[in-house]
């Protein structure tokens, strides 16, 4: 067949398939594995969008190996964003706006993540700005000094919020203050002490140890073909050194099961409850995601019905999984409640959690949630930056390349029984570890009462 006729036949076939296909059926995009001419591996998926996106990440964990300098994980990317020797931060930001492009870079304990997005005709220009930033960063000492001071003030300001304070104390109980876990804890809670000692030489050493080609994950999504984008990936990343850093071992999480109350004059009582998840070595936590949404995700959740609708005690209550490492996560329930209803809210949270763990979830709860998960996944894949970041984050936790393609099938196959079994096997047993920040501990049944955050050590 001649190419033109071949094409026409294919178009007719596609049109016929479109007529018989169910309207709501949308195929999950296929993720392909590719290599650039310079040999850099990347994943690629086609997304119909005006913009093309590259989501990338380096395995990190370097900062956790530097005693007293865990804050390097945040400060390193921050200082990099100050600009290159040729293009300062403001100039880069304004150039990106002209291109309708965006560039983000951020650090966390185990990964340094970034995303670049730009309209297809402008992608090469935007890629040039990122390449310049990575190749020749200015790393100005005065901006590092400013960032450290500013970070310390912001951290103290955040801690004035009762919910943030409760959350930080909860992390302290979960991770402790000694050893690698203590280092991680200081990073997670934004302890200024973890940032103060960081110098430009540390950032330079971090950059040289981490930002290489060896442990680099790249996902491309958008209208450009894999061949088209490969050249841009090489332009950005091919000149980086052949190094990489390991994320390090999973932290050992602790569960005291205590109720600790910090007494402070607050407008609302903050409650954070939870504990470590068991054996997070399974990469696919889809059953856990469904289960935790039944517990505390949105207006349909049991905790919302009990604490907001039942008691009128709060505007919102949430339950979720906090990922502390690809192999370690924790259940976290958090809310801010009416001071006068704090005891009733605590009792309701405990009662609902016990019932959820004991009875599991019902089909009536998870069937609508499966539809919502499907909708949310499809919507997140609709724009190139969202799609690239989703797939990148799947890769980072060790999910296979075909995970996305089978997502809806796996989701539909989950039964209420399977989800209930999973939750009993993985979610923390009672009693939960609970931190409350309230005007008074009276009537809350506290195991330990403190007057300031510094006293938390005596409650461990």
């Amino acid at each position: 067949m001649r190419p033109a006729r071949h094409f026409a036949f294919a178009a007719l076939l596609l049109a016929a398939l479109a007529l018989v296909a169910p309207r709501a059926a949308v195929a999950q995009p296929a993720v392909g594995e590719h290599r650039t001419p310079a040999g850099i591996a990347f994943r690629h998926l086609a997304v119909a969008d005006t913009h093309h996106a590259l989501a990338f990440a380096w395995s990190d964990g370097y900062a956790l190996t530097q005693p007293g300098k865990a804050g390097l994980a945040m400060l390193g990317p921050r200082l990099l964003l100050e600009g290159s020797r040729g293009v300062g931060e403001s100039d880069r930001i304004e150039q990106l706006k002209d291109l309708q492009a965006s560039l983000g870079l951020s650090g966390s304990a185990h990964f340094t993540r970034g995303v670049l997005a730009a309209p297809r005709p402008k992608f090469a220009e935007a890629a040039g700005l990122l390449a310049d930033l990575l190749a020749d960063p200015a790393l100005p000492a005065d901006r590092l000094a400013h960032a450290k001071k500013s970070f310390a003030i912001s951290s103290r300001q955040s801690q004035e919020n009762a919910e943030t304070l409760a959350s930080r104390l909860f992390s302290r109980l979960l991770l402790g203050r000694d050893g690698p876990e203590g280092n991680l804890q200081r990073l997670v809670v934004g302890d200024p002490a973890a940032h103060e000692a960081v110098e430009v030489a540390d950032v330079e050493a971090w950059r040289r140890a981490v930002l290489g080609r060896e442990r680099l994950t790249i996902v491309s999504a958008g209208p450009m073909s894999a061949d088209e984008v490969a050249g841009e990936i090489d332009r950005i990343f091919a000149k980086l050194p052949g190094v990489g850093h390991d994320i390090g071992p999973a932290p050992k999480l602790r569960a005291s099961g205590k109720l600790i109350v910090l007494e402070r004059a607050v407008v609302q009582t903050a409650i954070v409850a939870g504990g470590p998840m068991a054996s997070a070595r399974e990469r696919d936590v889809l059953p856990g995601s469904l289960a935790v949404r039944v517990l505390g995700g949105g207006f349909e959740s049991r905790l919302t019905k009990a604490v907001r609708e039942g008691l009128g005690a709060t505007y919102g209550i949430r339950a979720g999984l906090q990922q502390l490492h690809p192999e370690a996560s924790a259940l976290v329930i958090s809310t801010a409640v009416d001071n006068a209803k704090a005891a009733a809210a605590l009792a309701a949270i405990r009662k609902e959690y016990a019932r959820w763990r004991e009875e599991g979830v019902t089909a009536a709860e998870i069937e609508p949630l499966k539809t919502r998960f499907t909708t949310e996944m499809r919507e997140s894949l609709r724009r190139a930056p969202g799609a690239a970041q989703r797939v990148r984050d799947f890769v980072l936790v060790g999910l296979p390349v075909d995970y996305l393609a089978g997502y809806e099938t796996r989701l539909r196959a989950l039964t209420d029984g399977a989800v209930s079994d999973w939750l009993r096997a993985h979610f923390p047993k009672e009693p939960l570890t609970i931190v409350v920040v309230a005007p008074s501990a009276e009537g809350l049944g506290a195991d330990c009462v403190i007057k300031s955050a510094d006293e938390i050590a005596r409650c461990e």
């Binding site: 479109a18 169910p22 309207r23 709501a24 059926a25 949308v26 086609a46 119909a48 969008d49 005006t50 913009h51 403001s90 930001i93 304004e94 706006k97 002209d98 309708q100 309209p119 400013h146 001071k149 500013s150 003030i153 912001s154 103290r156 300001q157 004035e160 919020n161 009762a162 209208p223 607050v266 407008v267 609302q268 949105g298 207006f299 349909e300 907001r308 609708e309 008691l311 009128g312 005690a313 709060t314 505007y315 919102g316 801010a336 409640v337 009416d338 009536a364 069937e367 609508p368 949630l369 539809t371 919502r372 499907t374 909708t375 499809r378 919507e379 609709r382 724009r383």
Partner: protein
């Protein structure tokens, strides 16, 4: 009173180009009826539905925003009416639903998943539900009282627990003491506690009318089908004569400056805010709005001469890019707001003085002609990208209508922006630098001096 059938169906539609192909969609809104808009989306995408009520906090009785419009939004979403068993917010177990209230509008939002049979059945249910809610809503007294406490908790969570938000609210009241624009949508702790179900019913009777709402749908549905659904549901609803809007009152603009300073034990990082009210006689015209949009874009940028450059990069007085707002608050009256966190080791008064100096000098330091062209090109390019995405087109239209802008001017907005000249921007900047009423606030950590 006019019947709804009289004004459904009649306005020429804009073209919708929807395709299920691999390229992005070329999207546009279609006015399928006087009060109903459709943005056509591709198959397999969720349907979005919004009822936009053009009534918000600024429409509360006597211009006293107590949080009633917002409380009513809660009551509608958690009430139980004869035609459904679950509360409205759980109307569809597999959908997401919510509501928002602002000074000018109350919006009810539902996102329903893609169905094998398309979105018709869901949209029929939603139109029927909200047509009924335009007539009445029901909720038990005890549930309304419980929900009032939920709203109170929302207030405490959003405002009460933040010293900066509390202070900002106080400054707005000092700036506009006799006007609803000086009050916040959520109300105060005391005003929320005074709200009653009867008050909410009265507000509903005044403002929830078919001639005071828009229905906006983004879905894979034919315009004809959506029009039929809307006509069927809304038939029989009568238009109401709406009360005068308190926000339409002119602000008495006393030319003076007041400086406030508060210290709070919850504050670690000092912050300053500068608010200025100015009168612009021809500021309502769409040409003036377009010039303000370009100027706002400049004031929020990091371009040479912008507040960021002056206060952060050169002055080293602010720790991060200042917040800049430029809004219409009453007829011919506009508010410029500039807020910033004080840089470490800098005296707050130095930053506040620099902001005041920046505004005073605006007439002489406006963006250059090249910068104006650059900003206009950016805005046009951004809009061209938005035009490829039904979600962005949908959200853009919602933003336009919820600010009570006339739809008739919507299509001409890109051309208005393109027509903005350097002289237009310079004139607007000059007016902002001219006489006005100024209120400033300085928030400092406890232990530092406070007081006016």
């Amino acid at each position: 009173m006019a019947r709804v059938g009289g004004w459904i169906g009649g306005v020429a539609a804009l073209v919708v180009a929807a395709s299920a192909g691999i390229g992005p969609l070329a999207a546009a809104e279609e006015r399928v009826a006087e009060r109903v808009f459709l943005v056509r989306d591709k198959p397999g995408t969720p349907a979005q539905f919004r009822m936009l009520v053009l009534a918000g906090c600024s429409d509360e009785a006597d211009g006293q925003c107590k949080g009633l419009a917002h409380y009513l939004e809660h009551l509608v979403l958690v009430g139980r009416n004869p035609e459904h068993k679950e509360i409205a917010i759980r109307f569809f177990p597999d959908a997401s639903s919510n509501g928002t209230t602002s000074m000018r509008a109350t919006t009810y939002i539902h996102t329903v998943p893609a169905r094998e049979a398309g979105p018709k059945a869901d949209l029929e249910q939603l139109f029927a539900f909200y047509a009924a809610r335009l007539k009445d809503f029901s909720i038990r007294e005890d549930e309304a009282a419980r929900e009032r406490n939920v709203v109170l908790q929302e207030h405490d969570w959003r405002v009460g627990s933040s010293p900066f938000r509390r202070f900002d609210r106080r400054l707005d009241r000092e700036l506009m003491p006799d006007h609803p624009s000086g009050l916040w949508t959520i109300g105060t702790r005391e005003s929320i506690q005074s709200l009653t179900l009867a008050d909410a019913k009265a507000f509903h009777r005044n403002w929830y009318a078919v001639n005071n709402v828009y229905f906006l749908v983004k879905a894979d549905i034919d315009a004809k089908d959506l029009k039929e659904i809307a006509e069927r549901a809304l038939a029989g609803l009568e238009a109401k004569r709406l009360p005068p809007r308190p926000v339409a009152r002119q602000i008495e603009l006393t030319l003076e400056r007041k400086d406030y300073r508060e210290a709070d034990a919850q504050v670690e990082r000092a912050g300053v805010i500068y608010k200025k009210l100015v009168r612009i006689e021809d500021g309502e015209a769409i040409e003036a709005r377009a010039a303000r949009a370009v100027l706002s874009s400049y004031l929020r940028s990091r371009l040479p001469g912008s507040p960021h450059q002056a206060l952060v990069e050169v002055g080293k007085l602010a720790s991060s890019t200042p917040f800049v707002g430029l809004d219409r608050v009453a007829p011919k009256t506009f508010m410029l707001r500039i807020g910033a966190d004080v840089a470490p080791d800098v005296a707050p008064q130095a930053l506040l003085a620099a902001i005041g100096g920046y505004v005073d000098a605006m007439a002489g330091s406006v963006p250059s002609p090249e910068q104006v062209d650059r900003l206009k090109r950016r805005i046009a390019d951004g809009r061209a990208n938005e035009d490829q995405d039904p979600a962005m087109v949908y959200n853009r239209l919602i933003g336009w209508l919820s600010n009570r802008n006339a739809y008739e001017e919507y299509a001409s907005w890109p051309q208005r922006l393109a027509d903005v000249s350097h002289a237009d921007v310079a004139r607007t900047a000059g007016l902002l630098a001219g006489p006005g009423r100024i209120v400033t606030g300085t928030m400092v950590p406890a232990g530092e001096d406070a007081g006016k």
